[in-house]
Subunit: 137 residues, 2 copies
């Protein structure tokens, strides 16, 4: 009697995911909360879209599923970007910096990255007078 | 008897710097260490060069002197990028994100931003096998 194909695939995926998770925990430098900062850049325009945090599971999911995934510090849970808004991030490349304590997601952003409706979260300039409020949208 | 011009200018600069410092402390959301993450992007190429931290003084100096300035967590001191290496950053624009807890410096980078000699600190890809080491330089 042969195993159903689907459950074999799930088993393989689970093993790969575990190996990747272990590699990330050893190779990346997470802080004392188990988090690493993530910079997210639009792969097409080069715009820096947002900065957020990820735990090892979020980085592993981002690499394997190619969906921008983070750790929400306010909600205390895994956060797949766009899961509720539909503004998902298709991840082309994941880079890591020289001392392995910051990650960069290069993404194809659907819609606005920012919850304000702006394409990028960085839509305000900081001047000698403080924050200049000139929202795009 | 008139005041020497230079000392009057220093006084004005000091007042402006103090006002800016106060504005930043009230408008930006520094963490419990008094720091804020800074993403630094090449204003010409769009490359994300590095991610570091700044305190209010470092952000104020960056805005007024237009030199990329940070807080070195390892050395526990203000860090003017390139002060020793010569790889200075001329700052064109400083942006702040929607919730005012991350800053973005848009800079003209002299030489390499990374201490490894790579132009950017993000020169390694993170794949399903972990960090892929293919340094540019």
């Amino acid at each position: 009697m042969s195993e159903p194909v689907e459950s074999t695939q799930n088993f393989v995926d689970a093993v790969d995911q575990e190996a990747l998770f272990d590699a990330l925990v050893h190779q990346l430098r997470f802080d004392d909360r188990g988090l690493i900062p993530v910079v997210t850049q639009d792969a097409r325009t080069g715009e820096v879209l947002m900065m957020a945090w990820a735990d090892a599971e979020a980085v592993a999911r981002t690499i394997t599923r190619r969906e921008g995934t983070y750790w929400s510090r306010s909600r205390g849970e895994l956060w797949v970007k766009g899961a509720t808004s539909g503004h998902v991030q298709k991840v082309r490349t994941v880079l890591v910096d020289c001392d392995a304590d910051t990650v960069l997601y290069l993404v194809e952003q659907s819609g606005a990255a920012c919850h304000t409706g702006n394409r990028t979260c960085f839509f305000r300039e900081l001047t000698a007078d403080g924050i200049r409020n000139d929202e795009e949208s």
